[in-house]
Structure formats: structure tokens, C-alpha cells
């Protein structure tokens, strides 16, 4: 076991982890942060996307030991984020989720897209979102929600 110190959603946590433990298991099993969903566990589905030092990353592809000294933000930590409030509302209005399994990863990635690419069009969103899989195939609603959120933020209503 190796001791790691991580800034987790703004709180300093110290705990012992096995080197083979992924950040995803660290979040879910040790800290009960179960918004982070595990679909494929090899980087294909994107459901486990979180922020490490503010950058979107797949928590199944990060080892918890490698997060020592870094800041991790999960969807739970973005509850009061203004951009996420706008995205949540548009996901609701555009019916952008069905079973909800992919939604945490979709939201984290959607926020990342809107921060990098202001007011993206549908084609840009589709390309940028291609690493997130929705097995209900609800992509149309998800893309619409992100485009609409981008438009709203672009008008200066939030963000």
C-alpha cells in the first residue's frame, strides 16, 4: 500500500491505496463518490470522466497513486458550478438522458467542451463527444442540450 494525498472536491484526503487501484475505484469504493460510473474500465466508454487538475480525464485510466498531490473533481464537486447548473437545466429540457448511466461523464465532458469551445455547433459537439458512449443512443438530445447551453452561456447569461 502507498499513501496518497489528494485534493478531492476541495477537501484534503489522505489514504493508503494499492498501486493497481484506479482513480475510479478510489472514488467509488473508498469515498462513495458514486456519480463516477464505470462502464468499460479500459477507456472506451467515457462514463467515468472526471477532472484532474481541471482537465477532463478518464478515471479508469488514471492510477490513484499517480494522483498524489493533485486535485480531483467529480460530478459531486461540480454541484454548485454555474456552468453545470446551465447544463443540468438543458439536459432536463432536451431529454438528454434515458437510463442515466452515461450522464455523469457526458456532463463533465460537456462542461469541458463549453469551456474550450464557446458556442459550439452540433457538428463540433458530436466530434468532441465521440469518446462518450450512450448505450440508450440518446445522442440527439445530449447534443441539443450542449448546443443550447453553449448558446445561453454565449449570450452572457451565465458562466
Amino acid at each position: 500500500m502507498t499513501s496518497v494525498t489528494v485534493d478531492l472536491n476541495g477537501a484534503r484526503v489522505v489514504c493508503d491505496v494499492e498501486p493497481r487501484e484506479t482513480l475510479a475505484d478510489f472514488l467509488r469504493d473508498r469515498h462513495r463518490l458514486t456519480a463516477t460510473h464505470l462502464g468499460c474500465e479500459h477507456g472506451a466508454c467515457g462514463a467515468c470522466t472526471v477532472l484532474v487538475d481541471g482537465k477532463a480525464t478518464r478515471s479508469c485510466l488514471r492510477l490513484a497513486v499517480m494522483c498524489h498531490g493533485h486535485a480531483v473533481q467529480t460530478l459531486e464537486g461540480l454541484r454548485d458550478d454555474r456552468l453545470m447548473e446551465v447544463l443540468r437545466r438543458h439536459f432536463h429540457e432536451c431529454h438528454a438522458l434515458q437510463c442515466g448511466f452515461c450522464t455523469p461523464g457526458m456532463l463533465v465532458m460537456a462542461r469541458d467542451i463549453l469551456l474550450r469551445l464557446p458556442k459550439p455547433g452540433a457538428q463540433t459537439v458530436r466530434y468532441q463527444l465521440s469518446g462518450q458512449i450512450c448505450r440508450c443512443t440518446g445522442y440527439a438530445g445530449i447534443v441539443n442540450a450542449i448546443v443550447a447551453a453553449g448558446q445561453e452561456i454565449g449570450r452572457g447569461a451565465a458562466g
Binding site: 498501486p19 475505484d25 468499460c40 474500465e41 479500459h42 482537465k55 480525464t57 478518464r58 479508469c60 465532458m109
Partner: protein
């Protein structure tokens, strides 16, 4: 989908990394981990020890020199995509970076890791080969440099000794305006390419290099088509015949479908280059 157990050590210097690698035959280097961790999770890779080199400053050295661009092995695809490093190549490296996997992977995947893994279909080896890059390598016996075409020896095979790691790359400065074309065929965005070609021309009518990936155990340069493109040949029949000759010499396993696929990839990259 859970990795088998392994030990883990953080290297604080290149020498420490080399010493750790030399001691354990099944030790593996980890930097961004975006290829290695899936392999660990799938238990395709079963190292006893991971040597974490993600903190090594020597591998972050990126600077523009009179000779060209020195790029550190730990530079991420996203850093290159976002233009955080100098672009001496008319946007080619940014375009190549932006097409690798997905943003969440590009944020941590490194150019050094991509080349050191030497997947035959990876983007960087093909791109760096077309640009004539040299690989900078360090180990217990000091450092060395090698052209990327010699460094990559086959499918997932490089010239790295057990104790050696990739420090970075030196890409020569083009001595004239660079035009380039990059075309790849992927079944799904973010997947490894079924075929990928990069064409680079240094100055109008200047030397051309054509690199092709996913066609052979390692990326290859196609000299016959390169010469014709440099000479300004426009007849598609002549260009196709030249590509066929190059494929026979460098990627002979191609079946008729793959031959058409690779031919088309190279032709499209040439067209893109000529449209710039």
C-alpha cells in the same frame, strides 16, 4: 477489467528511472498511462513494477532552437493540439494531435509514450517520420540520438534497451515553407487508424516525404511516390502505379482491399498537401 498487482516507484531523476528499470526485467515505464493502463486493466500487460516518470523535468524540455524544435517526451497531445508548444510545421503537429483518441485521453497521453509503445497504427510515429525527427534516448550509459525510422523496429518493438527511456524528439526546422497533408481512415473517431498517411513538402518543388502507417509492422517511408510528387506529377494513374511499387517493397502483406485503402489514403494526403 482490474489490473493484476504490481509494485510502483516514482523516479525523481532519469538515472533513478534507469536504475529501477535495469533491476527488474518485467518493469515498465508509465507516463500518461493512456495506452498502458487499458493494457493493465485488460491484463494484456503484466509488469511486476511500474516506474513513474511523469515528474521528470528533463522530459518536459520543449524549446525552439536554430536547428528546429526540441519537444519533451512528456508533452501531451492536448498541449500540442492547443498550440502550447511552438509550431514550426504549418499546423501539421496540431492537426495530428487533435485527431488522436479523445480529448480526455489527449489530456494525459504523451508523445513520448506513443512513440515508445510503437503501435503500428499510431499517429505520432508516422507524423514524426515524415518530418525526419530524431529520438533522444537516455539510459545508464548516457544518452544517444537515433532517427525515428531506426528507433522503431517493428510492431511494439523499439531499439530501447531495458534501462533506457525516451527523453524527447528533435524535429528539424523546415528550410522553406512547409506544405503537408494528413489523411487517416478510422472506423470510429478516436480509434486507431486502419490506414494513415502524412505527406510533407519542404518548399514548392522541394523534397517531399510520404509516410504511411498501419500498413506494416512499423510505419514506412514511400520513396517512389515522394519523388513523383516532388517532381509535380499529376497523372493519377502514374501516382497509383508509384504507390503500388512502394507498397510491394515496404508493405507487401497488403491484400487487394488493404492495397486500395492505403493507396487512397496516400492519394488523399497528397491532394490535401497540394491544396495548401
Amino acid at each position: 477489467m482490474k489490473s493484476a498487482a504490481f509494485d510502483y516507484v516514482v523516479a525523481k531523476t532519469v538515472a533513478e528511472a534507469s536504475a529501477a528499470l535495469a533491476q527488474d526485467a518485467s518493469a515498465t515505464v508509465i507516463a500518461g498511462g493512456q495506452s498502458l493502463v487499458p493494457m493493465l486493466n485488460l491484463r494484456v500487460a503484466l509488469p511486476d513494477l511500474l516506474v513513474d516518470i511523469a515528474g521528470l523535468e528533463e522530459l518536459k524540455e520543449t524549446c525552439e532552437t536554430a536547428a528546429g524544435l526540441r519537444i519533451g517526451a512528456l508533452t501531451t497531445h492536448a498541449d500540442i493540439e492547443d498550440g502550447n508548444i511552438p509550431d514550426l510545421f504549418g499546423g501539421l503537429t496540431r492537426k495530428a494531435a487533435s485527431g488522436i483518441s479523445y480529448r480526455a485521453v489527449r489530456n494525459y497521453g504523451t508523445i513520448g509514450g506513443s512513440v515508445a509503445l510503437a503501435d503500428p497504427a499510431a499517429d505520432w510515429p508516422v507524423c514524426l517520420m515524415a518530418l525526419g525527427a530524431q529520438v533522444r534516448i537516455a539510459g545508464r550509459n548516457g544518452s544517444r540520438r537515433q532517427p525515428i525510422g531506426d528507433f522503431i523496429q517493428g510492431q511494439y518493438a523499439t531499439s530501447l534497451d531495458r534501462d533506457e527511456i525516451v527523453l524527447g524528439f528533435d524535429i528539424p526546422r523546415p528550410d522553406a515553407r512547409l506544405r503537408w497533408g494528413l489523411f487517416k481512415v478510422v472506423r470510429k473517431s478516436g480509434a486507431f487508424a486502419s490506414s494513415i498517411a502524412v505527406v510533407v513538402e519542404c518548399g514548392s518543388g522541394g523534397p517531399v516525404s510520404v509516410a504511411l502507417g498501419a500498413a506494416a509492422p512499423r510505419p514506412c517511408l514511400l520513396p517512389t511516390i515522394a519523388k513523383l510528387v516532388s517532381a509535380g506529377e499529376t497523372s493519377e494513374d502514374v501516382l497509383r502505379a508509384a504507390i503500388a511499387k512502394d507498397l510491394t517493397a515496404h508493405a507487401p502483406a497488403a491484400d487487394p482491399y488493404l492495397e486500395r485503402l492505403h493507396t487512397s489514403t496516400v492519394l488523399r494526403a497528397v491532394r490535401e498537401m497540394r491544396s495548401q
